[in-house]
Amino acid sequence: MEGTALLGRVTWRTATVVGLHDETATARTLALAVHDWPGHVAGQHVDVRLTAPDGYSAVRSYSIASAPSSDERIEITVDRLPNGEVSPYLTQEVMVGDELEVRGPIGRWFVWVPEELGPIQLVAGGSGIVPLMAMIRSRASAGSTAPFRLLYSVREPGAIFYRDELQALSSHGESVIVTYAYTRATPKDWPRPAGRIDAELLASGTWSSNLRPTSYVCGPTSFVEHTTDLLIAVGHDRERIRTERFGATGERK
C-alpha cells in the first residue's frame, strides 16, 4: 500500500459519476470511476473538490465505502447535512456522467487490511458506518475469516445504510455478527425501547474484552466519546481502540 498509495496521493484526479443509489432519505452512494486510481485500503477517505464557474471551490473529505478493487472504481456514501455546502450538491444535484475531482486515498491509521487475522469490533453511529462498511466488504472480497462484529446505532430503522447487504453478509457461516441499536424509534416488536447504547446493550453487541479485539469506532463526537468510555469500562484496552469522529458540521463520512 505504501508505495502506490503515497505516490500521487495529493494529485487531483478526474472522477466520473457512474452510478447513484439512495441509501436512505438523506444519504446517497456515488460510484466513481477515477482515472489512474492508485488503489486504497478499507477505512481510508478521499477529498472531493467542487468548483463553481467563477473558480470558487470547496473541498470535503468522504470515507470510501467500497472494498479495495483493481478496476479504478470507488464508492462514497454522502449523508446530506441541512446546512451543508457540498453534501446537498452530492446527494441531490449530481447526475450520472458528471465529473468531479478527487484525491487520495488518505489516512493510514483508521484502516483494516485482510492480513490482520485477529477479532475486529466495529461500532458505528449513523453515517459512521461508511468506513466500517468498507472493512466488512474488504473482508468479504478477500475471503477473510477474521471474526467481525458490528454494533450499528441509528436513529430509526429507515436510517440504516446498506441494509440488504448487511443482512446478506451476516446470514451465512463465518459471517459478520450485526447488532442494531435504535436511539429514537425501533422496528415493531423490538425487544428494547429506543435509547442510546448502554452497558447492557454494549455487552450483548460486542466481543468480550477477553478476546482482545481491535475496535474501530466511528460516528458523531458524542457517540464516540460515549461508546469508547463504555468499551474501556468493561476492560477493552485503550490502545486497541481506534476512533474517527465528526462534529455537527463535519462533512467527513
Partner: protein, 199 residues
C-alpha cells in the same frame, strides 16, 4: 482551475477571505482524535521537559497553575478542512515554561496522555507562538478538546496542538510524531497548505 461542477454555486462569505486555501468556516468545534479520550485527574497531571536523557523541568497542576498566564485570541485551522475564527484561550506561554531552560537543541517532541506525539521546531515553540492552554472561551477545557491542558500552536494545523499534553523532549534532529508518521506533513503550515507528507 479544476473541472467546473455543473450547477455548483458554493457558499462564500466575507470571512472566507481570512481562511487559508482549502478551508471552510465552522461555528462549532469538531473533535478529531485517533483514540479514546483520556480522563486525567488533576492530582496525577504533570508536565515535564526533558532533553532525551534528563528531566529538566517538572510541574504538577498546582505549580503549573501558579505560573503567569495569558489570554489569547486565535484562529484555528484543522487539516480536515474546518477553520474556526477568534477563539479565546487562557494558557501558559512556552516562553514562560522554557524561561530558564538552556535551549541548545533545535526540535521538540511533545507527548500526551494516551501516547500521542507531535514534533515541532523550537523556533515555532518560542517567541509567543505556543501555549499550554487550560481554558477555552472562559471555561475549563473539556476532556474531548484536550483538557485538562493542551498544547496550542495556532499558526500550524491543529494536529500540532497536542491534546492532553504531558511533556516535551528537546531533540537535536527533527523526527516525525504520530500523524507525521502516518502521512501528514512534517511541519504543517496551513497557509502553505502543507497537509500531507508529499506536498
Amino acid at each position: 482551475m479544476g473541472i467546473i461542477s455543473r450547477g455548483f454555486a458554493g457558499r462564500r462569505s466575507a470571512a472566507d477571505a481570512k481562511l487559508p486555501l482549502g478551508q471552510y468556516l465552522t461555528a462549532d468545534f469538531p473533535v478529531l482524535s485517533a483514540g479514546p479520550t483520556p480522563h486525567i485527574s488533576l492530582d496525577r497531571w504533570e508536565f515535564t521537559i526533558d532533553n532525551g536523557s534528563n528531566v529538566l523541568k517538572r510541574w504538577d497542576w498546582k505549580s503549573f497553575r501558579a505560573l503567569p498566564t495569558e489570554n489569547i485570541k486565535v484562529d484555528l485551522h484543522c487539516v480536515t478542512r474546518w477553520s474556526k475564527l477568534d477563539t479565546s484561550w487562557e494558557g501558559v506561554s512556552l516562553d514562560v515554561l522554557l524561561a530558564d531552560v538552556k535551549i541548545d537543541l533545535s526540535y521538540a517532541m511533545f507527548r500526551s496522555y494516551g501516547d500521542y506525539t507531535t514534533n515541532l521546531p523550537m523556533q515555532d515553540v518560542l517567541n509567543k507562538q505556543a501555549w499550554i492552554a487550560f481554558k477555552f472561551e472562559g471555561a475549563d477545557l473539556e476532556p474531548e478538546h484536550g483538557g485538562p491542558a493542551r498544547l496550542l500552536v495556532p499558526h500550524l494545523y491543529l494536529w500540532k496542538s497536542a491534546k492532553w499534553v504531558k511533556g516535551m523532549a528537546l531533540m537535536t534532529h527533527d523526527k516525525p510524531g504520530f500523524w507525521e508518521n502516518l502521512g501528514y506533513h512534517i511541519y504543517g503550515d496551513p497557509w502553505k497548505e502543507q497537509r500531507y507528507s508529499d506536498e
